[in-house]
Every structure is written in C-alpha cells, then in structure tokens.
Symmetry: C4
C-alpha cells in the first residue's frame, strides 16, 4: 500500500481536478482525504454487516427487502468510487491490477453476478478486505509503522516458518497414517486424509473431538502427538519473538546518535567511535 | 489506582478525624490501613462466594435464608464503607466517578434493585472487581510494581496488538464466509455470523466441536485455518515478549548511573566502577 | 534436593557403615550410589505401572493375584529402603519431615491402609513423585543445573505470574457470571460456578465443548473471551521468556573472566575494567 | 544429511560414470542434480497422494485399478533409484544403513509385502519421509541453514525440554490418578491410564471433550490443571525462544572479527572501525 501511495505522490502533475479527486480518494494525509477514508471504512463495515445479517435465515425472512436495497446502494457507491479511482490515477491499469484494485472490483461484481446466479451475492463479503485500507488511516497514528515492523519480522522469519511448516506437514501425514492403521474405520479414522485432518486438529491443540482415538494404543499415540504439538508450538513463537526482537534492536538501539564525521546512524548504545568512519562519537 | 492514591496524598490537610478515616480506608502503608484492606478483601471474597453459591440450585434450596441474610449483611457493610469513603475524601465527586468508585457503588445497588426486580441480585457479582484493591495491599510487596511492568509492556504493545487483532478480525470474517459457502447449513454453518464464530473458535485453538466441517473441502480449509492459527499464535506472544524484554532492560540494569569519568551509562546495579574507564562510580 | 544433599555432605562423620549406606542411598556421585538410584527409579516406575494396570478392570480380573504380590513386594522394598534412609542420616527427623521423606513414607502407607480400607491402595500412585529423585541422577549430566535454571526463572517470575493469575481469576468470574445471566440454564450454564468453569475451559483454549453458548449474544461474548484468551496467553510466555533470558544472560555473559584484582566474576562481555574493584581486566 | 554429503564429496574418485550418477542423484548443487531432486520430490509427493487417495473408500471403489498401476509404477521407479544409489556410492553399506537409506528401502518393500499380506501397502506412506530430501534442494536457497539454526536451538534446549517433559509426565500421572479417584467410572475416567490420557488432553489444551469431569470437585481440579497447563505452556516456548535468540546472537553479529587495536570483539557485521578504540578493523 505504502508503495502505491509513493507511486502516486511522485511524477508529473495530473489535471488539477483529477489531482484533487486523487488527493481525496488515495491520500490520507489531508483532512479531506482522511475524512473520506473514515467514511469509506464506515460504509464498508456497514455493507459487510448487511451481508452477514442477510445470511441469517430469521433476519432475511424479515428484512429481505430493505437488505436488498441497502445491498444495491452500497454496490452503487462502491461502483462510483471505483470509477473515480480509475479516473483520478495516472496509470489506471496499474491500479486496476494492484491487489487493492482487484479487491475493489471484486467487491462490486458479485451483486451483478447474483442477478443471473442467485446466491453469488454472498461473495460480496470479500468487501471486508477493503477494510485493509483502514491501515492507511492508521498510518497517521503510526500504526502502519507497527504493521511494517510485524511484517518485517514475518518476512525475515519466512524461511524458518517454511521449514517448520514442512516438518509439521510430514509429521501429520506420518502420524495420520499410523492412526489410520491403528484405529481403523471403527472410530472416525475412515481414511488417511481424514486421519491427517485429525492429526492437524490434534497437533494444533484445537481438538474438536469429532474424531477421537478409541483403542489404548491409539490413545497412547495421540498423547505423544499432543505432547509433541505442545512442545512444537514453541518453535514458531520462538522464531517470531527472536526475529521481532532483532527487528526491534536494530530500530531502537539505532537512530539515537548520528556520527559527526559521516552522519551515519545505527551505533550501539555502548559505542564510543563511529563504526563507519572511526570518528569519536 | 496509584494515580488516585497520589491525588489524595498531596494538597491541604483534611479534618484530623477524616484524615484518620482516609488513612485507614484509602492508604495501605499504615498497619491500620493494611489491616483494613486485608479484612475488606476477605469480606469481598466471601460475598462473591455467597453470590456464586446462591446460583447453585441445590444450595439455594437448602440455605436460601442464611444466604439472603449474609447477602444483606455484606451489602450493609459495603454501604457503610462507601459512605465513609465519600466522607473521608477531599473531592467526593472525583472518587464517586473514578473507576473504583463506580465499582463500589455497583456492588451495592443490585441488592436494592433486586427488591423490585428479583434476579438482579446476581449482578452483585460485579463485587469481584473490588478485589482489584488487592493490588493495593500487594504494593507493599512490590507486586504493584510488577503489575505496572506488565501494564507498561501491554501499553507499548497496544498498537501492534490492535493491528494484529484487526488482521485476525478480517481473517475470521473471510474464512467464516468461505466456510459458510462451502459447508452450507447441513453441518452447523447455518449463517455467516455462526461461521465467523466457528472461525474464531478454531483460530484460537479452542475447538469446542459444536460446529465441525463435514465436507472434504471444508476440512481442508479448516486445516489451513488451524495451521495459520497455530503460526499466528506466535505473533502476540512475540510482540509481548519483546516489549516486556524492552521494558525490563530499560528499568533494570541501565540508566541509573552515569560514570563521572567517561559519562558512560549502562552499568549493572552492582557495579562500583565504570566498566569502560575504570572510574569509581 | 540439592540443599538436603549439601546438609549431609558437610559436618562431623557418621559411623563408617552408616556413612557407606548413606553414600549409596543419598549420593549419586559414586558408581554405587548412581547404580542404586538407577535401580530404584526402575523399581518405582514398575510399581507405578503396576498400580495403573491394576486400575484397568480387564487386567485386574486377569492378573489380580500377581499384581497384589508385586504390589506387596514393592511395598516391602520401599519399607526396607525407608528404614535404611532413617538409619543412615545424621538427623532422621530432618529427613522424615523433608518433602522427599514424606513422599517416601506416603508411598508405603497406602498398601497397609488398604488392609482395613480397600481401595486406598490407589493412593500408592503418589509413588510417582519418588521419580523426582531421577533428577539426582541427571545431576551428573548437569540436568539438575538446567532444572535449577528453569526454577530460578520461575521463582523470579513468581510475582508477575501471581498478578497474572489474579487478573485471570477476576476475569473468569466476571465473564462466567455474565454468561450465566445471558445463556441461562437452557444450555449448560446452570450456575455461576459452572459458568466460571466454562470460562476457564474457554480462556485456556481447552474447549471441551461440554458447555457451549447457544444464544447469539452468548456466542459473541464467548468470541470476545477467546480472542482475549488468545492475546492473554502471550503474557505468561512473555514473562517467562524474559526471565529465562535474563537468568541466562547473567549465567552466560558471566563467569568467563575473573578479575585479577578481586577475583570477582560476572563481568559483561564488553567490560574493560572490573566493576567491583576497577582493576583493568 | 549434510554429514553424508560431506562423506561423499571427499576421498579418492569413483569410476567417472558412477561419479556422474552420484553427482546427479546425491548432489543438489549441479543443474542436473537439482533437476533430479525436484523431479524426485514431485514423484514422491504424487505417490504419497496416491496412497492417501487409495485409503478413501469411495475413490478406491472407482479407481482401484489405475491406482494399483500407479502404485507399482512408483515402486518400480523407486526400486531403480535405490539400486542406482547403491551402485553410485563408495560405501553402499554406509548408505543402506543411513537414515535416508533405510527410508528409501522402506518405501519400496511394503508394495511387495502386500502381495502376500494385503493391507501392508498402506505402510508405503512412509515414503513421505523421503520428502525430507527436499531440504537438500532448499539448501541452495540457504533453507538448510535455517533448519540447522532451528536444530541447533532444539539441541541446546534438549536437556531443559527433557526436564520439562519429565515434570509434565509426573504431573499428568498424579492428576490423572486423582481424577480417577474423584470422578470414578461414571464419567469416562474408567482407569488410571485413561485418566492420564485425559490429563494430557487437558494439559495440552487440546480438550477433545470425549472425557469430561462431571462432579463439582472434579471440575475444580480440572480447572486447576487447565490454568497450570496455561502457565506451563510458557515454559517450552520460553526455553526455545531463549536458545534461538542465543544461537542467533552467536551466529549473527558477534565473534567474527576481533579489533587489532584493543582486541575487542562483538562488532556488528557492517562495522568498519572498532567501536571501543576507533581502530580500523
């Protein structure tokens, strides 16, 4: 998102009125822009709630009509907004193909599709993704910075998490198959995929209880899986905490003092000389 | 709480007898004050237990009468205490509108309301909040300090947690809706709100098992949700640990004393000489 | 445990034969002593397994007799051992009243009690506590050191954990009561204690599913509880990780270099002068 | 794995053609070698999926025949591969007895066994273990390095985890037995082993709900177990995070370069001058 914002904040000027629209719709730094975002998020939330309520049989029976109207009003509003966005950006295609651009489109289409294929309107719920814009508003409150910190930590722990998930994956397949052989069909372990599903439910400590081992051996193995899951749960947390702590240290320790020699920052708290130019700090 | 205590410990003196009452009721530093708090917490605990027992059908049938008496005794005591508090503070309104002041009031009212609206007496359970005063007593044992440390960490991780919760919120709405479309009404996913409820139950690894996916596709998606929840659980922990570690580092070792020789800080609590220049601290 | 060991390793000598017995039974540093411990732990494990098997109806029907014999054999062995321990220590009373001494006694009594009160023999399972001696053997492998590290971290996070548990306690009482009022008896929330039990089951993400909210409002509140529990789970972990990290840093950074001046250890990695006597390191 | 790779990359040369095969099959650094691994992993994955599908009654009824053919094709391929591996290594026995060598063998045998003992083919699922080779391919992307980091942290926290698991083990046996005595057979706690199983299910916060306390006392004890489990879950995470953080610190910033001037270490990776004496590094 930040990226896209950058793209539009640089480069040769648009026509003033488009510039104005752009500023209101895309930026969140001006009062107008922020107001727009706040209102938008409000409408998005309302429209999502409407869709959710419509799915409740009792409510639909009652307020079906008014909900439909609301539904189309929201669709109309979003359609207008979408067009304005297309107009007010320098590279409409770039926007249309951007993640948020696609989300914006997807949050309009279903309503129209539902005209031909009833039921499709539920897909409108994808609108909730538009709430992601909320971080734009947060940015002013430096929330986005936090989000970046979280993201950075996630990115740098990506590899580890992948390795971890792979191990978990192999783990559940193996134990799922074992349980399938041990328990047999009598107690819900009707197939390996289902047993793997059980293994995941157990390892993640969700434990629905819809599939449960009945035999003594099965329960022993299950216990082993649980204990492991219990110990394994430590791994991603450990990974993430560490990464986050690092991301932190780099950001925090840093930036207090800038070297007089090279103006470089990022010195440790106990540094007495600039580590880049050797200048006394 | 600390704040309020401060407010009352400064400023022009009250009438000696009010001063005395104030010291006993509000302060926890004097023997009398501490004794009062300890007794009070004991009574509060008893009254809460009484309310809880009263809700147990079997017990109520047996001891209904004695429980009522106890109930009114407690109410009486708290009423007296509340009045004394109002009298003994310089700004009664300030106290009455403070969090604990409101709690104190709410822990008396229900009993009287129940005279006109039977059943309301259950609300008396709000009294348990009064137990929060216990931290006042703890303070002497520096427990409050710890509580502050925890709070500080929570505060500084507030933004991150918010961003996190937002993401989780969007996450459960999306997956709840998907499951609603995939599973349909046949297996408990009767509406989007209910499906979102399921998503929360699953993501948080609570896993009641009251709503469970039946279709193969549904179980696959559920598995994905669980694994994610499993990985996601790392985030708040990571955030909090990091913040706590920071809050620690700042409070504990560093920043107390700067060396006279080199002006360097970051010496351990037990350091007697600067570890950088050897100067006596 | 370490403490007790210390007590016996200092002071005026026992009679040589008692000294010998003591060394074998209490110490784990000599080959004989270690062998004894290993055998003992083996027997303890066997006796515990025996008790567990005896509780399985099917097995009891089959091997009732042989299990009884085994049971009495184990009791006899432990009785002899207990007597030897009493004989071989300088202060029998001190041992008899020590935690492990009481456990040793409790692991013998039930068998005899069961002669008069059948069923009491199940209490023999307390013997499993004797397995704690295993750490004595581990000590050789420096496992005890690790255990100490864990313990130290637990001790220093004791206060925080207490504050945390208190908050959780208040939390579950409040929400338990609310759910009791919201859900009513129709869906398992028959009393406040039961509702509090539900709140604990939910907050800890155990989620049996034996008590589950039925109303929409109830499910919303439950969701809130879960999300909170999800965020709250971060706290103890954060606390503990931090404490452990500290316990670590102190132990690791430390002890590499001893000051030449005062022979004191525990200097940071980046220290250039002894922080106790100012001597150049 | 890394170890084995080393073994084969040193020492006197093989016959060129065997060398070639070896390079393709065992190494993952050459294009050919990597391509081979990627294809292999694809086939393994397919074969595992085939086994899983075959276990689904509905699918088996439909595609039994084609699945059998696929099954035998995969077996054939793996057989050929296994033979090639034996040929192309200097010490066939060393490979055959290595972990991956055994896995390779086990992933062929079941199919043949199933000729005499139908049903054995399910064991083929052990093939999923072969996917572990995937880390070989990852290595190029430095994933293996990450895996090593995780492993190192796991190894160094091995002792602590052991102590922890021991405590948990004793814990569940004790509480399992207590619950067996408290609850009795009426509510699923039919034997101590089953009660211990319950204790594990509860402590790990899996909470199937297949065995649930019915009595008030039982529910109190259960609550205690849950809260403890909730607090205990912090321990492995804490241990692991700390170890990982350490493994990190050691590997990342410190210990690479010592200053020529003051011999001080602990400089950041990007440091060009000693931060203590300003000497050029």
């Amino acid at each position: 998102m930040t990226k896209r914002v950058k793209i539009y904040s640089q480069g040769e000027p648009l026509a003033p009125w488009r510039e104005k629209i752009h500023e209101i719709i895309f930026e969140a730094d001006t009062p107008a822009g922020k107001a727009f975002d706040v209102v938008l998020i409000g409408i998005i939330t309302l429209s999502v709630i409407a869709v959710m309520l419509e799915s409740v049989a009792a409510i639909k029976r009652e307020y079906s009509f008014s909900l439909d109207i609301a539904e189309w009003m929201f669709t109309g509003l979003f359609l207008v907004e979408y067009v304005l966005r297309l107009i007010s950006v320098r590279k409409p295609l770039l926007y249309a193909t951007s993640f948020l651009g696609i989300v914006d489109l997807l949050s309009i289409l279903p309503s129209f599709i539902s005209l031909f294929h009833p039921g499709a309107e539920t897909l409108v719920v994808v609108r909730v993704l538009r709430v992601l814009r909320i971080f734009r508003v947060f940015k002013l409150a430096e929330y986005l910075g936090e989000a970046d910190a979280l993201m950075k930590a996630l990115r740098s722990s990506r590899k580890k998490i992948t390795v971890f998930l792979y191990t978990v994956f192999i783990f559940v397949v193996i134990f799922g198959s074992i349980m399938y052989l041990v328990e047999g069909a009598n107690s819900g372990f009707t197939s390996i995929p289902k047993s793997v599903y059980w293994a995941i439910v157990t390892l993640t400590t969700v434990g629905y209880g819809d599939i449960v081992p009945q035999t003594h051996l099965g329960q022993m193995i299950a216990s082993a899986v649980m204990i492991m899951g219990y110990a394994i749960i430590a791994v991603p947390t450990g990974i993430y905490s560490t990464e986050l702590a690092k991301a932190y240290r780099e950001s925090s320790d840093t930036s207090n003092t800038a070297c007089i020699g090279c103006g470089d920052e990022g010195h440790d708290d106990d540094a007495e000389f600039c580590k880049y130019c050797g200048e006394k700090l």
